[in-house]
Symmetry: C2
Subunit: 358 residues, 2 copies
């Protein structure tokens, strides 16, 4: 029965219409051309329809490019994640990488692998979420590729532009710089907890619940923090003595990566870590600290800056933005929590070795 | 047993070494960091290690971006395709899209989805094939993303640069222009036939066999044809009256797409279609013609050019490059084969509706 309906649709010249169908349209019903026509609605009309998209760059700018892959069952699940949230998060993760590089978004390309039975509504929801996340920053969907596969996956490549002397690298951290974090950490992990175990949220204020779930489902790339940084620095000041990275793999990981790339050390002051007071009240200080350092997916920025710039940035951003420590000469990568008798040495193997078995 | 070995490797600080292991190293043995370190060998040292790659663009150039996704079991198979060939083909497909846009390659990003049991040798073979295909054109692997998945897939985004007035679009075909094809078509399909059914190749000369299998496994993106076109046109002549597309989905499809995008028609002269004489000798004219028009994956270019430019390009390229017909006013998309009493109307639904069931 279903086969008949699909075959009829496949042979119908009005691909994309849903007439006399017994189920919501799937991408097998539409065919590749029909689906592409639907998805073109999310793209600027002047960049689709060719073998590639042509994007003009402001003169004298460099290009920044970053890629993320999300796989059904690993990074999202139909049972727990709305397609618009999958799209938003995928784009937010890439825009967060652009922010960490000091870049302004130009747009994204999307490589979609989909089983034929994928509902059209899922794909359109995905694109709507991507477009919604891009919209405030002027980025656009620049095209992509579709292919049939057994497992849904979404590969996004984001493109940005940056004035070369304002590209931010991980390797520029210098002893004596302040380590700035742009917002509370652990909120995304808290939102995940509430989604996975709603019953544990009894007693959480509705505002806090909404905020943490939003932090998980709709993280905001901190391009605003980069814009604020450029305002503080003023025109013409270059950024070659600033190091930056996003905290998508956790705050501890970001500090460790910055230190490793720069050949320096760091000391974090536990009392200054960006803990949401409401989160501490809910799960206690120890767990809040664990989620803050290792929870990941907060998509905030970690910057190594001169102290005066760091303080100005904190004043400008507010809302959890904090100086959390200082870059030290090293050598080696060690983080110290001041409440402990001896500094706690952390290693990169904690928390993000995706391929290794638990 | 295997689990023990893997666990040992996961806890070993010398990740990446293969000491006392009972099987060839897999990516689960290496972990994400170990695998990344291996793959960094294929990337310029100044573009990896940050949240994104920074690429300087020549002043006044536009960016061209294109994406392809390849999935195990759909586009390649361990049983029939060496990993280096998967990598080569994936890059060649993207560079072919850049050529069709008139662009010069800057590099690629790679989004890899891999099961943990994927042999390291497969991933390194893949990257070697990608690097080999990029090398002649000066492009580089600019980074990417790795994630665990049940199915292997490779999402490649290629970046190129083009002087804005020399970007080539599908929509610029004009009545009276010559339709030029840069080389023989049907060779890739012939190579596939020989790989799938070696017994059918009895009597094929070894040189022809090697050439057709190479056309399938190691297609050459026709960036050389674009360089030749710019030489013929000379400095300063813009390309806004030239239409182009690659023939990755078949020669017939490319002509149809060009006509549809430009609102014109076309007439092909059957006698001028780029058939390899040795292929006609092997499978007969009818099948060679079918493979030429619909076989796909030849990764040649189809260009709509003024006749004098078309003739100069044919003289320059040789080797199957031919004027195969002329753009007509249309309206509508119709291809005529001169041996038929009435022109054969072809439609876009033939041959590339990936999602529709057979």
């Amino acid at each position: 029965m279903e086969g008949d309906t699909v075959d009829h649709a496949a042979g119908n010249s009005t691909a994309g219409e849903n007439i006399g169908r017994e189920h919501p349209p799937t991408i097998a019903d539409l065919g590749e051309l029909g689906l592409l026509q639907r998805l073109f609605r999310y793209c600027p009309s002047d960049v689709v329809g060719d073998d590639g998209a042509v994007v003009a760059l402001p003169t004298g700018q460099s290009l920044v490019v970053t890629t993320d892959v999300l796989v059904d069952g690993v990074h999202f699940s139909d049972r727990t994640t709305a397609p618009a949230d999958v799209g938003w998060r995928a784009v937010a993760a890439n825009l967060s990488d652009l922010a960490a590089m000091g870049a302004t978004p130009l747009g994204i390309t999307v490589g979609l692998s989909l089983p034929g039975h994928t509902p059209l509504a899922w794909v359109e929801g995905l694109y709507q979420g991507m477009a919604d996340c891009l919209a405030p920053w002027g980025g656009a969907v620049l095209g992509g590729d579709l292919c049939r596969a057994d497992t849904r996956s979404v590969a996004i490549t984001a493109l940005g532009s940056v004035v070369p002397q304002r590209a931010l690298y991980r390797s520029r951290a210098q002893p004596g710089q302040a380590i700035v974090v742009t917002g509370y950490h652990g909120q995304s992990r808290a939102g995940l907890e509430l989604l996975l175990h709603p019953e544990r949220g009894d007693g959480v204020a509705p505002d806090d619940r909404d905020r943490w779930i939003a932090a998980h489902q709709r993280p905001r790339p901190r391009l605003d923090a980069i814009a604020a940084l450029w305002q503080i620095l003023g025109d013409g000041v270059d950024a070659r003595a600033i190091a930056a990275m996003d905290s998508s793999d956790g705050l501890a990981n970001a500090v460790l990566q910055l230190c490793q790339a720069s050949g320096v050390g760091a000391r974090l002051a536990e009392a200054d870590l960006p803990l949401d007071p409401a989160l501490v009240a809910w799960v206690g200080r120890d767990r809040a600290l664990d989620w803050c350092l290792y929870g990941g997916e907060d998509f905030e920025l970690v910057l190594c800056l001169p102290w005066v710039v760091a303080q100005a940035l904190g004043d400008r951003l507010g809302d959890g933005c904090a100086i959390v420590g200082e870059i030290t000469p090293g050598p080696g990568v060690a983080l110290g929590l001041i409440t402990q008798a001896s500094p706690l040495a952390l290693s990169l193997s904690q928390g993000f070795q995706h391929f290794q078995r638990p």
